[in-house]
């Protein structure tokens, strides 16, 4: 309790039944000086008992319940009390005793008065949860009245401080800020002040000078120590912030902390700034009394303004409040009862959100003017329908009974702009129609009166239904719809449901209904259905498009036969809706789908070729680097044949017996050749698996693919907003760190040939049955083919067989063990219930992790045999899709669409992947990448000399560092080891690849210091594809 609250108090209560001790209480009020001396004495003698003035003991004497009276005596001796003590004191009182409890607990020198509390309340003091539950409404009213009466004059002063701010919209800004500044100086922080200030900030374009006054006010309320209080008011008022989104965000952060009582947290309570019903009055008042006197008085005014809605509450207050306070309060309300002034919603306010509805603007602004009866009534009416649904997850659907159902279908379907019979002059718009519709469905029978076109019209002309309708209501909508409406309603409900819920069972049901409707009404054509909706309900079609992504379309099992069809339908829908709504982003998405479809074959080929071995280079290498075993085998080979063809006579003289002496000398040699070759197959830095693991998986790709998939979920607009919630941000950050650790471990430990936990090894065990079988097959093939020239081809084929179990094992490990670990990390990080949006985020992360681990697991397979042909543009597209590289690429050059084949396609792919990733990573924001691919034909060959140049502008701050790093990489010696390491080795990899191809590296960097543009280029000979090679996959 602030000292300002307890000075000059005149009386405790006005109720007749406690008049007997009022006079005593007044007499007992000690001068301030006395208090100080007494407190000093307490300190001097180090007594554990708190000092209280006689007035407090006189109040206690008025408590009728003897046990409670003793309890009070015990507690007043304490220095401070815990919330549980407060609960004990407040619990089980009669209304009479509750009045006294209000005075003893909240009044001057009362039990909850804190000795060392600063004179004024700060934002941090207010922005806390209430620590104990509310009583029944009658006792809470009495308690509040006891508190107000106990501070006497201070309460009257608060009424007088509120009065000049009643018509804030008419006051010149500097004056208004001056009044608020004065209020902050006297009373410090209050939710009331915060709302008035938020109103000015969101309704007017404040000058620098005016903003400096705002800063001074913020200093007075110690805003910087706890910004939550003022931000709560701003987010409720500002038209720039979506109320639906911000409500979800707050629910997500607080649902697990308030235990179903939204009044416990100020930022939740602010979404419903008027009491919903008598039961809610208790929590509403407790929230105010636990905040400060200003908010307590303001809450009382609000309740008086809702006299028609809460007559019993008003009556109880009238009975309990001091007559003087009551008189001044009624005077204030009279003063605030002027007709509605339209200036309350300013042009500046409206300009912040052009699409906002006028009824929504008034709804939001009214929260700063609840001392005005008309606005309090309007706000309360909508709070009972809209406000409560914003917090539906916390309050539960049983609370929806606060509003009367509306059966007036004519008003619901009236044209936009129709005048309404409201306490403020609003006209029918989408927001108000939403309010009417939510009341309309309160009576299920009403749904039976709606025709198909009326259903469509309502969905077309309402807002935020996905946030406001509960899952149960969506189900009800569907179940109650007329048979002829059922299909359409099911589809609409599905669209809404998918934006809100994560229950896959309900999702399945809605999908089934969608399928039935489209099959019955639109001959199984989803596009036909969308076109039907686009006819006169484009917004409804837009709703549905949002829910019909490719994944969902694939799950329309009876309508969609394969993945290509799902992509095509999505593409067609996007184009149709994009054209109707003139939305360019839909066309962009459609084009991306088309591009992806075009290169899907190529993408599949490269996805299956990540674990690659350049067999041509390996064969060359084996030919030019024969081992001793190979040499011996080749020299032995003719003798093996000769011995096998010899014919002998048996020792017992029997004729015509053919005996073959099998020479098994080759067994050892073949094993040794295979062993040596397998080591090169795995570890050779130019052509081996380790090299491709380095360039196609470990080097950025693995991190990029695995992190970007989950980042894409976290980047979604609907989730991005949760990151502003510190708890959620910490949870997500903690999970991201643990997830990254799993990815790092996969890259550093498992996908290596030398690490302890490696999934791969370059050696083999001759006692292993599978290895023995592979070797047997190699020997037998070599013997049957009868030529040592094919030795190296056979050995390479053997190596693929030998590595296959390792690849399968790696795929299995990633798909099961590591995926299980990643899923467990999500469950651990997001443990507990944090609201439906958080659960949705968790479910999407599970989904994303499942998808990406399976995708990565699929990389570990034996590549497709043969070569594919591809153009430079196609290679760029698959790299961009794989790595989710955003931003545009401008293509140029005479060879952009020239097709190449053979190993040159792999080399081009590897080099382009590095350069595109680097360009995307370092280019300045919104800066396009230009890619020039030109060629010169090498006469007399099937080869082109292809020159690739990639240029991009680098952000000014990074330009010099990037340039020096690239130049250093080009100048440094590249080695085979660069192919198997990550980090700053991308350019060295291109140098290595071009050197392997051309005999020398061809990487060049041009830097334009005046434009901050860096251009990297390389040259390589590439095999031109003709019709035959192009089809030779």
């Amino acid at each position: 309790m602030r000292p300002t609250d307890h000075v000059n108090h005149e009386r405790i209560t006005s109720s007749s039944d406690i008049d007997g001790f009022c006079a005593v209480a007044q007499d007992a009020c000690l001068p301030k000086q006395h208090c100080t001396i007494a407190n000093m004495s307490t300190k001097q003698f180090k007594s554990k008992k708190a000092w209280r003035p006689a007035r407090i003991f006189n109040l206690i004497a008025g408590v009728r319940d003897l046990k409670k009276r003793n309890l009070f005596r015990g507690y007043v001796a304490k220095d401070s009390v815990a919330p549980s003590d407060m609960e004990t004191i407040r619990h089980g009182n009669s209304p009479h005793d509750s009045v006294i409890a209000g005075a003893i607990l909240k009044g001057p020198d009362g039990i909850s008065y804190r000795q060392n509390q600063s004179a004024k309340k700060t934002s941090a003091d207010l922005f806390v949860m209430t620590g104990f539950p509310a009583m029944d409404w009658r006792n809470e009213v009495c308690y509040t009245a006891g508190y107000i009466n106990s501070v006497g004059q201070s309460a009257l002063d608060v009424l007088r401080a509120i009065k000049p701010l009643v018509k804030l919209e008419t006051i010149e800004t500097a004056t208004a800020l001056g009044i608020l500044h004065g209020l902050s100086k006297t009373y410090g922080a209050s939710n009331f002040l915060s709302y008035k200030l938020a109103y000015l900030r969101s309704s007017r374009n404040l000058s620098t000078t005016e903003m400096s006054v705002v800063s001074q006010i913020e200093d007075e309320i110690c805003h910087r120590d706890n910004a939550g209080l003022h931000f709560s008011a701003l987010e409720n008022l500002s038209s720039k912030i979506s109320l639906f989104v911000v409500a979800q965000r707050r629910i997500s952060g607080l649902i697990s902390k308030v235990n179903g009582d939204f009044r416990r947290a100020l930022s939740l309570s602010n979404f419903i700034p008027t009491p919903l019903n008598e039961d809610d009055v208790a929590g509403f008042l407790l929230r105010a009394t636990e905040s400060c006197l200003v908010d307590t008085v303001y809450a009382t005014i609000t309740i008086f303004n809702l006299a028609d809605e809460l007559p019993l509450i008003r009556h109880e207050f009238v009975t309990r409040l001091s007559s003087e306070f009551l008189r001044e309060l009624l005077d204030l309300i009279e003063f605030a009862s002027d007709p509605f002034d339209e200036r309350i919603v300013t042009d500046f306010y409206r300009a912040q959100d052009d699409c906002s509805d006028s009824s929504l603007d008034i709804y939001r602004v009214s929260s700063a003017f609840l001392e005005r009866p008309a606005l309090a009534v309007y706000r309360n009416k909508l709070d009972r329908v809209i406000g409560i649904r914003l917090l539906a997850e916390i309050v539960g659907e049983s609370s929806f009974t606060s509003a009367e159902p509306c059966d007036d279908k004519a008003v619901l379907l009236a044209s936009t702009g129709t005048k309404l019979n409201e306490s403020v002059p609003v006209k029918l718009d989408s927001f108000y129609r939403t309010y009417l519709f939510l009341r309309f469905i309160g009576n299920r029978a009403n749904l039976l009166t709606l025709s198909k076109d009326e259903v469509r019209s309502i969905f077309e002309n309402t807002v935020g239904l996905e946030s406001l309708l509960t899952e149960e209501e969506m189900r009800t909508l569907y179940v109650t719809a007329l048979p002829e409406n059922k299909g359409l309603v099911a589809v609409l409900a599905l669209a809404l449901f998918r934006k809100k819920s994560i229950d896959p069972d309900i999702d399945f049901e809605f999908r089934s209904d969608f399928i039935s409707h489209v099959m019955a009404e639109h001959n199984g054509s989803i596009l036909d259905f969308i076109n039907y909706l686009l006819g006169d309900s484009p917004q409804v079609a837009n709703y549905i498009v949002g829910s019909l992504d490719e994944v969902t379309l694939e799950k329309m099992y009876m309508l969609v036969g394969n993945a290509s069809q799902a992509s095509q339908i999505r593409c067609d829908i996007l184009k149709a809706v994009g054209q109707r709504l003139n939305r360019i982003e839909y066309f962009i998405e459609a084009d991306a789908i088309t591009t992806r479809a075009k290169v899907s074959g190529l993408q599949k080929y490269f996805d299956s070729s990540r674990m690659y071995v350049d067999s041509i280079s390996m064969k060359k290498w084996l030919d030019s680097n024969p081992t001793m075993s190979t040499e011996q085998y080749r020299s032995l080979y003719p003798r093996i044949e000769a011995q096998m063809s010899a014919i002998e006579v048996s020792s017992d003289g029997e004729k015509n017996l053919l005996i073959i002496h099998v020479n098994d000398q080759d067994e050892y040699l073949i094993s040794q050749i295979a062993k040596d070759a397998f080591e090169q197959f795995c570890l050779n830095t130019e052509f081996g698996i380790e090299s491709y693991l380095g360039r196609r998986i470990r080097h950025n790709t693995l991190d990029g693919v695995m992190m970007d998939t989950v980042d894409a979920v976290l980047r979604k607009p609907e989730y991005a907003v949760y990151m502003t919630n510190p708890t959620m941000r910490r949870t997500v950050e903690a999970w991201t760190v643990s997830y990254k650790a799993i990815v790092d471990r996969l890259r550093r430990e498992h996908l290596q040939f030398k690490a302890t936990n490696s999934l791969f090894k370059a050696t083999f065990d001759l006692s292993d049955a599978a290895t023995q079988a592979n070797l047997r097959q190699l020997r037998s093939t070599l013997r049957s083919t009868g030529a040592s020239e094919l030795l190296n081809d056979m050995v390479i084929a053997f190596c693929w067989k030998q590595i296959t179990p390792q690849l399968e094992n790696a795929a299995r490990f990633i798909r099961t063990n590591l995926l299980g670990e990643a899923n467990a990390s999500i469950d651990k990080a997001f443990f507990g219930h944090h609201g439906s949006a958080d659960a949705q985020l968790k479910a999407e992360l599970h989904e994303a992790v499942n998808v990406v681990f399976k995708k990565v697991a699929d990389w570990f397979q034996v590549p497709q045999t043969g070569f594919i042909s591809a153009t430079g543009r196609e290679l760029c597209e698959i790299i961009r899709i794989d790595l989710n590289l955003h931003g545009s690429v401008h293509f140029s050059g005479n060879a952009v669409d020239a097709k190449y084949t053979g190993i040159s396609v792999h080399r081009l792919y590897d080099c382009l992947a590095v350069l595109l990733q680097n360009a995307a990573k370092h280019s300045a924001q919104n800066s396009a990448i230009t890619l020039d691919i030109s060629c010169r034909h090498a006469p007399g060959t099937a080869l082109d000399l292809v020159t690739v140049e990639i240029a991009t502008k680098v952000a000014e701050g990074n330009y010099e560092i990037s340039k020096q790093r690239i130049l250093a990489a080009i100048a440094s010696e590249e080695a085979g080891v660069d192919m198997v390491t990550e980090g700053y080795s991308g350019i060295k990899k291109i140098k290595f690849i071009t050197r392997a191809s051309e005999g020398f590296h061809t990487v060049v960097c041009d830097a334009n210091d005046s434009t901050n543009e860096l251009k990297l280029s390389f040259r390589i000979h590439a095999e031109v594809a003709n019709d035959v090679t192009g089809a030779a996959v």
């Binding site: 229950d503 896959p504 069972d505 694939e554 993945a563 069809q565 099961t816």
Partner: protein
């Protein structure tokens, strides 16, 4: 025992399951390798036993465009939903590589699967087996379940 449907996308696992069915019943099961194929099959045909994997691609390798489609971590549950939707009660053997899976966003231990699935989707889950690669005991367990419902 006349008709067995095997819903499995992984080649090795599928081959082993197929051999189990062949050994126990003397005939090969019908095979589908994606969620869509399985959903369509169970809605159109009646099976005595369905051997069901949980994590499945939507279409599988056998799709006519050869694109597997999106992976569904709980794809097997879609098949159970489809059975429930058409009011068919079938004997189900769940064979999965994961010790737990999610039903309605709630983690379910494989051991609890028979009860949870039976209650929720009205199916007769006769076994839930944690599959281990090339494990004889896994295969014996599956065959034992199949035999006991021969």
């Amino acid at each position: 025992m006349n008709r067995v449907l095997l819903v499995e996308d992984e080649v090795h696992k599928r081959e082993e399951m197929k051999q189990c069915v062949l050994e126990v019943y003397g005939f090969e099961p019908e095979i589908v390798d994606g969620v869509r194929g399985a959903v369509v099959k169970v809605m159109e045909e009646d099976y005595d036993i369905i051997i069901l994997d949980m994590a499945l691609p939507t279409f599988g390798e056998s799709a006519d465009d050869k694109i597997k489609g999106h992976d569904q971590a709980q794809g097997g549950v879609e098949v159970l939903r489809a059975l429930n939707a058409v009011k068919k009660k079938t004997k189900i053997v769940i064979v999965t590589q994961y010790p737990d899976f999610y039903i309605g966003n709630t983690k379910v231990k494989l051991k609890q699967a028979p009860k949870v699935v039976s209650d929720k989707y009205k199916q007769d889950v006769i076994g839930a087996v944690l599959y281990h690669y090339k494990s004889k005991s896994t295969l014996q367990r599956i065959m034992s379940i199949l035999r006991s419902h021969g």
